[in-house]
Symmetry: C2
């Protein structure tokens, strides 16, 4: 078995190296690449992607998996070898079952689709985008059919982003969550609004940068195996476990944007930096799912980064950086300001309390589209009425309504729920962490994060992609993904911020 | 034929993309990569290099070349297609003739060799490095034998860096040059030394950067398809014709280092940026040889950048950047200072007048080593006596003597002459350019470089690697590489600087 396993690993290592190279090309494209070099970069990415795909989907990988599967069945199912074969099989089947013709057509339609979406959004013209979205939904239904039988036609789509997750599960989770979230928003809306105007002054970029570096260094970000750069859209990327990089966008007139974005991306980066080196250069090196990844970024951004103890430690330092802007703003006022809740039209600007509602709306609509119970032409109307129902606001046009997100135009159907699942998982983990580290708030108040990071490393990070998200959450907390801790967290926090 | 040619190009395009990705990985490694990420990067580079090698040396490429060769024989021999097949054949033969065992052994010995050389240099212990150099010379003799028959055993080594060049040719060129260079150095040494102490004050790095940007922007460096970064050792690299990057090292206490280094690297970059896009993603996209490349960097660095008209234009601006340091230094004093000649022990610190002698010494010694007329154990003695003979200085130890360069430890035997050939070609081109653009000095005095760059683009850059260096120089100047123009240039310039 050792021999076959090594043969498989050799191929997987090469594929991982090719993917790492592609990731670096992508990083460069978004940070330093000259404006006029996009065509060549496109060629390079296409070539590397194609070679990696051919290698990974080769008959040799198929034969090795067939040979290895009965053998690893004898091993501990949690062993690296057994999990490697299992996850590789899952990805191999996904990559080999889809016909080349579908892949080509999908690439063609989504490339044009994104282009048309960009123009349609500028023109506020949903009708223009409609035929492309219809085609994309149709292609995604065809895609789902390849993986029949399934419990629900949306399952194979969800599975691409959240392996193992079922439509019935997310429906149940969000079905419980939605009325409680709606009720919370209403309770907040009945209270006087908090002031956050002091966040919107002029804040020198270099000072924002330096403060952020201090924060994430204390969080445990490993600069020997990572770095920070600027980009138009913040992201985390990595080229192996030992090179995990974050990027940040700084707004000179809104100080909290870069702070929480930096902490958020560092949450992703700590996950990647914490994967067991035994998994390096295999499909197990990386987060378990988008939802698990988001649980780490959100945990650091919100449960840690927007908490009172966190700012008990860091606020005096932030005031030192910006005495003119924040010298006369009390810690309590600052804490309320960074936790202001304001139902709004745009998902990416949403606060912690309203964010999930933006997601649920999208999830419900895309399930209906894939099921066929909603037609694309009726989408704007469905969007707007749900916005009113969930958030109490109605888009003034499709630009700040149904046309706001890039995902569907690029064919990403099944993605959105992972954002909300990340929020739920983060709170569920947080309850467990606080049981295991009872003095965690005190530690955070002192700027000490090593016990927290150690807990995350031990329970989550080191496992990489060995376990699917539901399995991993259950191993840690004793139950599958559950919205109750998140609602407890939100209610507790915002009842104090807003006094109800 | 179109069909076969397209098949060949498809493979060559993929190889070019892989090489471009490797080059970006290398650029990142020397500019931004975190310190702890070297192992992963090594794996990625090894995988990409191996895949590119397998693709390029495949039987399919061999068959396509065989099919195409009789067909392109019917075409204009200067056509892109004919030249592509010719150059691909040359590289294919080089890459396929060398046995895998030799490649593995060479990689092993040079990896250890470089390590030992670094330590030996620190310890000033040639004896420690000696057995490794002996093994490397032996492997290089074996390498040459693979390409027998040849006129001279050193020919196949030279050919790796300067395709088509013969040992007899470089011997003849440098045989003429050496006595004249030695005589020139002696004439200079008899004159009072010029003062350059004003170059060695404190110069703020950002100002050095900004001045350099102004200079190379005027030279015509295309920032839409390139960028500048910092690195420990300055270099130029590219990922296609549309992404050509330079790096610079800034010394806070020696202003001329970064200026001339930036201009030098920009000379390389202008070459790569000027290649005809029809050659993109093929072995023809890039410079003709290391010597031709160096002719471009040296032309800009020395014949343009260290010329009086150049500083008539730029010196007032440099004085504006550094009024405290240079406000009281006259243009004439500055010009003499940046052209100071001082025989020294270290090649990379050598000035324009002495540089070639460092090269000739190395070239003669490595030819003798490969011929077997010199033993490695006798190398330090041979080095030191030649230093005294050519430059009038003797190394005080092997650290500043025979152990100073990395090249031999890495197996690069045949490389050195390209530095000096670049100098010679640059002056030969310069005479021709000044015939074609009679008012060039006036243009330079006005900071106008477009006619010069246009000339280089038209005569050299656009051809990429279509022509070998001797062929290209002859097409342009009417004669092969000739040391006379360079000696005329040096004598004319330094007789004025030193007044003899």
């Amino acid at each position: 078995m050792e021999d076959k396993l090594n043969q498989l690993k050799t191929i997987l290592n090469e594929v991982a190296d090719l993917n790492a190279a592609s990731a670096l090309l992508g990083w460069d494209q978004q940070t330093y690449m000259p404006a006029g070099s996009a065509e060549g970069r496109g060629n390079q990415l296409a070539t590397l992607g194609q070679i990696a795909h051919i290698k990974f989907t080769s008959d040799e990988v198929g034969r090795l998996l067939e040979d290895l599967e009965p053998q690893v069945a004898q091993l501990d199912p949690d062993s690296d070898a057994a999990r490697l074969v299992k996850v590789t099989r899952r990805e191999y089947d996904k990559n080999t079952k889809v016909p080349t013709e579908w892949v080509a057509e999908f690439a063609r339609v989504t490339t044009v689709g994104q282009q048309v979406w960009q123009e349609a959004r500028i023109e506020n013209n949903f009708a223009r985008f409609q035929p492309y979205l219809e085609k994309i939904i149709d292609l995604r239904r065809q895609y789902a059919a390849i993986f029949a039988p399934y419990d629900h036609v949306y399952d194979p789509l969800l599975d691409d982003f959240e392996p193992g997750m079922k439509t019935a599960e997310v429906k149940e989770i969000f079905g419980k969550l939605r009325p409680q979230q709606v009720e919370l928003i209403k309770a907040i809306a009945d209270r006087p609004q908090v002031d956050d105007s002091f966040l919107r002054q002029t804040f020198a970029e270099q000072k924002q940068w330096d403060f952020g570096v201090e924060v994430i260094t204390k969080m445990g970000y490993d600069w020997q195996h990572g770095r920070q750069d600027r980009s138009a859209h913040p992201f985390t990327t990595n080229f192996g476990i030992d090179d995990v990089r974050i990027t940040t966008k700084f707004l000179p007139d809104f100080v909290s944007s870069a702070i929480f974005s930096t902490v958020h991306e560092t949450g992703h980066a700590l996950y990647e930096q914490g994967v067991d080196h035994a998994l390096e250069r295999t499909p197990l090196a990386g987060g378990a799912s988008l939802g698990m990844h988001e649980s780490q970024s959100r945990l650091w951004e919100n449960l840690v980064g927007r908490s009172y103890p966190f700012w008990q430690h860091f606020y005096p330092r932030l005031q030192e950086f910006f005495p003119g802007q924040l010298g006369n703003v009390s810690l309590d006022a600052f804490y309320k300001g960074i936790n202001k809740v304001q139902p709004s039209l745009i998902r990416i600007e949403a606060d912690e309390a309203t964010y999930n509602l933006h997601i649920m709306l999208r999830l419900e609509l895309e399930i209906a589209l894939i099921e066929g119970s909603l037609q694309v032409k009726d989408l704007p109307q469905a969007w707007n009425s749900r916005m009113q129902e969930y958030l109490g606001v109605t888009p003034t046009n499709d630009k700040n309504g149904v046309l706001q997100d890039i995902h569907w135009s690029g064919g990403m159907v099944g993605y959105f729920s992972t954002y909300a699942l990340g929020n739920l998982i983060s709170a569920q983990l947080w309850e467990r962490i606080n049981q295991d580290i009872p003095d965690l708030p005190d530690q955070i108040r002192k700027g000490e994060f090593s016990a927290l990071l150690g807990w995350l490393r031990n329970n989550i990070h080191r496992h990489g992609a060995k376990y699917e998200s539901q399995e991993l959450v259950k191993r840690i907390t004793g139950s599958k993904i559950d919205p109750a801790p998140y609602m407890r967290y939100l209610t507790d926090k915002f009842s104090k911020v807003y006094g109800f």
